[in-house]
């Protein structure tokens, strides 16, 4: 489904400050699976997402999505296949527009935008259904501007917007990190429900080891741009994973 081969990426190339993030990095992700990527700050998690999503281009290597080589495609061209929810609730959503306007835009993702009216009566029921599934009461706030929503409500909305056109791949970039524990749990549950409902292949970055184990089929630990652990979530328990994490992380510190 997703195949990354011989990926190389460095920043500040040919200067004293050159940082090699990835050197011949390879990764394969199967269809309809949920993979969690964990690792300390600076290990390359977000850079990997940025390379997959096309925000930054790799120096070398190829990325295949459903056998199609997307490595040379621009970010906006990849957006047709990839949905992404960011840690920052203001990304990927327009805060000065209403919920209805945001959903209507997301509903046109990857399609041609014309001179027809954006807001259409016939789609409203569909949006209400989607919002009802979240059970956050957002279906009653269709005309509320997104800037008046809480962080959790915004992330829930971002999640719907990223998945409503059934992307081939969903990237969750610490999308609950800015939320309080209760809301974070709620959003993770909603995420799981949506992924299962639409059978979307998902990769998520998380600093919460418990969440990573609970909501994924496979755990990948990154360290210095390399995979240091790659196991099915079922084969490892929380304590063991925390110990490995600490051991690996201490090595970096030392």
């Amino acid at each position: 489904m997703l195949k990354i081969t011989n990926l190389c990426k460095s920043f500040n190339s040919n200067t004293d400050n050159q940082i090699n993030i990835f050197n011949n990095f390879n990764l394969e992700v199967e269809t309809n699976t949920s993979t969690a990527i964990i690792g300390p700050n600076g290990c390359g998690k977000t850079t990997l997402f940025n390379i997959i999503g096309g925000n930054i281009l790799a120096d070398q290597g190829n990325i295949f999505l459903k056998e199609k080589n997307i490595s040379k495609l621009k970010e906006e061209e990849r957006a047709k296949y990839i949905g992404r929810v960011y840690q920052n609730p203001s990304m990927g959503i327009s805060s000065s527009l209403t919920i209805l306007e945001n959903l209507s835009l997301a509903n046109k993702k990857g399609e041609k935008f014309t001179l027809k009216k954006l807001l259409k009566k016939e789609n409203i029921d569909k949006y209400i259904e989607l919002l009802k599934d979240l059970s956050l009461g957002l279906e009653k706030k269709l005309d509320t501007k997104v800037k008046f929503l809480s962080g959790g409500q915004r992330q829930a909305l971002s999640l719907i917007m990223a998945t409503m056109k059934y992307p081939d791949l969903l990237l969750l970039d610490e999308h609950t990190a800015a939320l309080d524990p209760k809301t974070s749990n709620l959003i993770m549950e909603k995420t799981k429900k949506l992924i299962e409902k639409y059978s979307i292949t998902t990769i998520m970055i998380s600093h919460n080891i418990k969440d990573a184990l609970k909501y994924s089929d496979r755990i990948i630990m990154l360290n210095g741009g390399q995979i240091v652990l790659d196991k099915p979530s079922a084969d490892i328990d929380e304590k063991e994973l925390i110990q490995i994490y600490i051991r690996k992380f201490e090595q970096i510190v030392a």
Binding site: E77, A79, R84, G92, L97, E101, K108
Partner: protein, 293 residues
């Protein structure tokens, strides 16, 4: 007094098209586009050029819009393709247009008194009302379309445009073209109204446009019901009224520029501070509220 009202209204309507144009760059795209200082007289010079070539005033006015949007295209190429900062891109276009404007007819001042104008078809006020309403309705309708919404989001959140699979530069260019087209149209109307074209007619015009937008924003500030185009139109008319009154009080026309800047300062500071100070007693949670409840 009556003539003061009519003249202010007519001038306000002409400048409301300028204000609607600048509203697109300043409020929607969030770009301070200084090229309008060149585009405004550019529209007037293009109009004069076509009139001198014997073209009728309606087509000459439309030509001003088209050439104005080409100036907008130039600025947007400078910042989207050549990656020059938008502010500098605007200044560069403005500088280029200064020379082009002088080249267009070979003169810095062109009389239009002996030529037909778009205002010959009916009274000036009626013609202006028709044009302004036409622009407003088209713009309002456009901003409700799928493409129009993309233009709004372009200034609000670039990452969202990319997530929707769209090229952000295309929408910036589109906005710049519409905006500068409108500014040039306003310039063409201003030249017909005053009966001549002058190279200095664009100087500090951005301040007039911003003043109009800011005054418009002050009207019933928190209401969502007033459309931004309506605000721009009302703002431009109020601005011209204030200017007319100040002139009537005996100040020199050369004092205009300082007055424009002072109007901007007053309205911005009103929006920033005075609204809160003046409404202190009405705010819940203030001392009076605690005492009385």
């Amino acid at each position: 007094m009556n003539s003061l009202i009519i003249t202010s209204l007519e001038q306000g309507l002409i400048f409301s098209i300028l204000a609607m144009g600048v509203f697109i760059t300043y409020k929607i795209l969030d770009i301070a586009d200084l090229s309008v200082e060149g585009t405004f007289p550019f529209g007037a010079f293009i109009f004069a050029k076509f009139m001198y070539m014997g073209v009728n005033p309606i087509i000459s006015t439309l030509m001003a819009f088209i050439f104005g949007s080409l100036a907008g295209l130039l600025t947007s190429i400078l910042f989207t393709k050549l990656k020059i900062k938008p502010l500098l891109s605007g200044i560069l276009t403005m500088t280029i247009l200064y020379s082009i404007n002088l080249r267009t007819n070979g003169k810095a001042n062109i009389p239009l008194f002996s030529y037909d104008s778009i205002f010959d078809f009916n009274s000036t006020l009626v013609v202006l009302i028709i044009i302004v309403l036409f622009v407003k309705i088209i713009l309002d309708q456009f901003l409700k379309t799928e493409t129009g919404y993309l233009l709004i989001v372009t200034g609000d959140n670039e990452s969202f445009i990319k997530a929707l699979g769209k090229n952000i530069n295309m929408y910036k260019t589109m906005g710049m073209m519409i905006a500068n087209g409108l500014v040039a149209l306003s310039g063409a109307l201003a030249s017909q109204f005053q009966g001549f074209v002058d190279i200095t007619m664009g100087s500090s015009i951005i301040v007039v446009a911003l003043a109009s937008i800011i005054i418009g924003d002050t009207i019933n500030k928190d209401s969502n019901k007033i459309k931004n185009t309506t605000r721009a139109i009302l703002g431009a008319i109020i601005y011209k009224f204030i200017e007319g009154i100040v002139l009537d009080l005996g100040l020199e026309p050369t004092d205009f520029k300082a007055i424009s800047a002072i109007i901007v300062i007053i309205f911005i500071s009103y929006n920033n501070f005075l609204v809160d100070i003046l409404s202190f007693n009405r705010r819940k949670g203030g001392v009076n509220y605690v005492k009385n409840n």
